[in-house]
């Protein structure tokens, strides 16, 4: 069975239709890249998949391990195994980094009928993973994302992913706002979580990220539809030639 199936997905915000029939199948162990020009609907897709309020699905379905997500709220989808790395991670004044992680992990455990984490053990676990991502201890004591640099925010997103063990991870323009060094660290963190059990959707505008996180499939999104699918060489194609030709061909076809 496919991990994530997006079937003929149409969605809108308010009165504006954004997605016009997306079809995509992601199996466990696969990394799919979604590229597209601004306004193509990339962020909308990530929000619709993760269940953000304000988006209406007018047609189609999303299946996670064969189960439809449409009636599930954002937190239910999350506990079912979906993770979204935000393009603009949100600031939570006064909420400590460690406390936030603990709350998220406990929410999952509670639903599975298990006990909440043992405090000391959790702190050790978090510190270990944090060190791998180059996240210092004091960053975890600060309030979530408050005053974090772009790189720190993205690294904290990946730390969360490492602790929550999702089955499907959507990375929304994870490379935006990162310099070369930060990009390397974040990519390494993502790659270390790749495996036969997890599926990933990497949304990006530029090819650069995909040299570090090498995708199995590349899809081009334009005006709310996937207009072309290929392997990693398609990304290099786009980098060289841009989106315009591809889009024109799509309209002609």
């Amino acid at each position: 069975m496919a991990l994530l199936e997006i079937k003929n997905l149409h969605a809108r915000i308010g009165d504006t239709d954004i997605l016009h029939g997306i079809n995509l199948t992601i199996n466990r162990g696969e990394v799919h890249a979604i590229m597209g020009p601004n306004g193509s609907g990339k962020s909308t897709l990530s929000y619709v998949l993760s269940g953000r309020n304000g988006y209406e699905i007018t047609e189609g379905d999303i299946l996670l391990d064969g189960e439809s997500l449409l009636e599930m709220e954002a937190d239910e989808r999350a506990r079912a195994g979906m993770f979204l790395a935000f393009q603009y991670p949100v600031e939570l004044p006064g909420v400590g980094g460690m406390a936030f992680l603990r709350a998220a992990v406990n929410a999952r455990l509670r639903e599975q009928g298990e006990d909440e984490v043992d405090q000391l053990g959790f702190v050790k676990l978090v510190r270990a993973k944090a060190t791998e991502l180059g996240i210092k201890d004091d960053m975890l004591k600060r309030a979530v994302n408050v005053g974090f640099s772009g790189g720190e925010k993205k690294r904290y997103e990946i730390l969360q992913m490492a602790l929550l063990n999702p089955s499907i991870a959507i990375l929304d323009e994870t490379d935006s706002g990162l310099d070369v060094d930060a990009l390397k660290i974040v990519s390494e963190g993502v790659n270390s979580q790749r495996g036969p059990e997890i599926g990933m959707v990497v949304i990006t505008h530029y090819q650069r990220l995909l040299s570090h996180i090498v995708p199995d499939f590349v899809h081009i999104l334009s005006a709310g539809k996937i207009i072309k699918t290929g392997d990693k060489s398609l990304a290099l194609d786009v980098e060289e030639n841009g989106y315009t030709d591809l889009m024109e061909n799509a309209n002609v076809a």
Partner: protein, 483 residues
């Protein structure tokens, strides 16, 4: 984008599930309903008070009769009929037990339900409890240990009999009889409260605490507390209240007076959870309290820390008069209103002494259809050379049916005094909620996490025992229907 109906529903008051809603069925001896000189004499006689105390009460009563009811706050109050209230209701069996064995077992069971196991030292972790039950203090523990270091911690009625000099010297010196309508009333009819005296150089070895409860229908709670800290002494005092469900409004008009001498410090923490009334506001507690600290000594310090989540109507301004040189006044407050609650609270920092400093951090959270107002006064007088104030008032609105208001009064009569005041208004944004939801937290978890983050600066001032209870309380008071 505004909060969705789901969000709002998630934070609507759980009126049906007020955790402490129950009534103890014990005979009580009440004074007849209403307020007149006879009732006051009755109370004074019941308490076995000296003549001077009765005179003091009667004087206060005559002041009160001449005062008009205050109405300037942004509160919508139905007129209170003072002739329809019992001003004295003492449990029959309790006439000063010498040990816990003498206490009515029903009462003890009540305390257990409230989570105050008087007879288990371990669980109290060394906290002495003076359990005030409906106008008479029933038990006082740990008195021996405290008396070893000279600390006096007893019911105020006892202090009036045993330590009249101290009481006469200080009671009414911080909040004078004529100060305001409710304090005058309190002076006339107060029935109990705590008296604390810390001698010179003593650091009180444990946190002192009092639990209140209003039980009898139509009985107002008129508690009076007096805490005196001599030179270089320290005490941390906890006040936590619960009350059962009621249909008639119940009046709570307490007076708390604190005095600190040179280098002394009093830390006064309150977690207040009076019954807030139903979703239309009917039946909740009216909480009108006058709390004032006098930093008389140089380098003395008084901190007020409070988490207020209950009451139908709250009118309360814990204040500091900073007379001593380099004295310090602090006010840390979280006030949550939901349903139809109304709160008009804040603080007054009156700077008189050179080098005096004050810090005010107020976090107001409004939800449901409630109104939450911060009202503060910072006054720098001519002698307050080099004084400093820093004030931060933040309001968080949950849903678009409530109101959050800030009314600061700033008066400066000394150029070298610096005042800095900041106020912001915000809400829990959709983005913040979605971020937490996407991490698997339920909406309730998310709101609780974000709100506690919002209140963090205040919460970290609370003593440990209170901090946990307070965090839960904030979560509960914003909960949707339980289940």
């Amino acid at each position: 984008m505004v909060a969705t109906t789901e969000t709002i529903a998630a934070v609507e008051d759980a009126t049906g599930s007020y955790k402490y809603g129950f009534v103890t069925d014990i005979e009580t001896e009440k004074a007849p309903k209403g307020l007149n000189e006879d009732v006051i004499r009755f109370i004074s006689a019941k308490k076995d008070e000296p003549e001077w105390m009765l005179e003091w009460r009667l004087k206060a009563y005559s002041y009160w009769q001449k005062m008009p009811t205050p109405n300037w706050a942004k509160l919508n109050i139905a007129p209170i009929d003072y002739q329809d209230i019992y001003f004295y209701a003492a449990p029959k069996s309790a006439e000063g037990p010498k040990s816990l064995d003498e206490v009515d077992p029903e009462l003890l069971r009540t305390y257990e339900k409230l989570g105050i196991p008087l007879n288990e030292q371990k669980m109290l972790a060394g906290v002495a409890v003076d359990a005030v039950f409906d106008s008479v203090s029933v038990a006082t523990t740990f008195r021996e240990e405290l008396s070893k270091v000279g600390v006096i911690f007893c019911p105020i009625s006892e202090a009036i009999r045993e330590y009249p000099d101290l009481v006469r010297r200080y009671m009414g010196s911080v909040v004078p009889v004529s100060d305001n309508y409710f304090s005058a009333l309190n002076c006339a009819v107060f029935t109990d409260g705590s008296f604390v005296y810390i001698p010179k150089g003593v650091r009180c070895p444990m946190e002192l605490s009092t639990y209140f409860r209003i039980n009898e229908q139509n009985t107002g709670q008129f508690e009076r507390t007096l805490i005196i800290a001599e030179d270089s002494s320290y005490v941390s005092y906890l006040e936590g209240c619960t009350a059962p469900q009621r249909d008639e409004n119940q009046l709570h008009a307490a007076v708390v007076e604190l005095v600190t001498m040179d280098d002394a410090e009093i830390k006064y923490s309150t977690v207040q959870n009076w019954y807030p009334g139903d979703e239309t506001g009917k039946g909740g507690i009216y909480n009108f309290v006058t709390k004032r600290g006098a930093c008389r000594g140089d380098r003395s310090k008084i901190s007020w820390t409070q988490v207020e989540t209950g009451s139908a109507i709250t009118w309360k301004y814990p204040s500091c008069v900073l007379s001593g040189k380099d004295s310090v006044g602090e006010f840390y407050s979280v006030a949550v209103t939901n349903g139809a609650q109304q709160a008009d609270t804040g603080t007054k920092m009156i700077h008189l002494g050179q080098g005096s400093r004050s810090t005010i951090i107020s976090k107001g959270i409004s939800a449901g259809k409630s109104q939450n107002t911060y009202r503060g006064l910072v006054e720098m007088n001519k002698g307050a050379e080099g004084a400093r104030n820093f004030t931060q008032c933040d309001s968080l609105l949950v849903g678009d049916q409530c109101g959050a208001h800030t009314v600061p009064y700033i008066v400066s009569r000394n150029p070298s005094a610096k005042i800095e005041h900041e106020a912001t208004t915000s809400r829990i944004s959709e983005d913040q909620l979605f971020y937490c939801l996407q991490r698997g937290m339920t909406e309730e978890d998310a709101v609780s996490l974000i709100v506690n983050g919002f209140c963090k600066e205040v919460m970290k001032e609370l003593p440990m025992e209170f901090a946990v209870e307070a965090q839960k309380l904030i979560g509960i008071s914003l909960e949707g229907s339980v289940g």
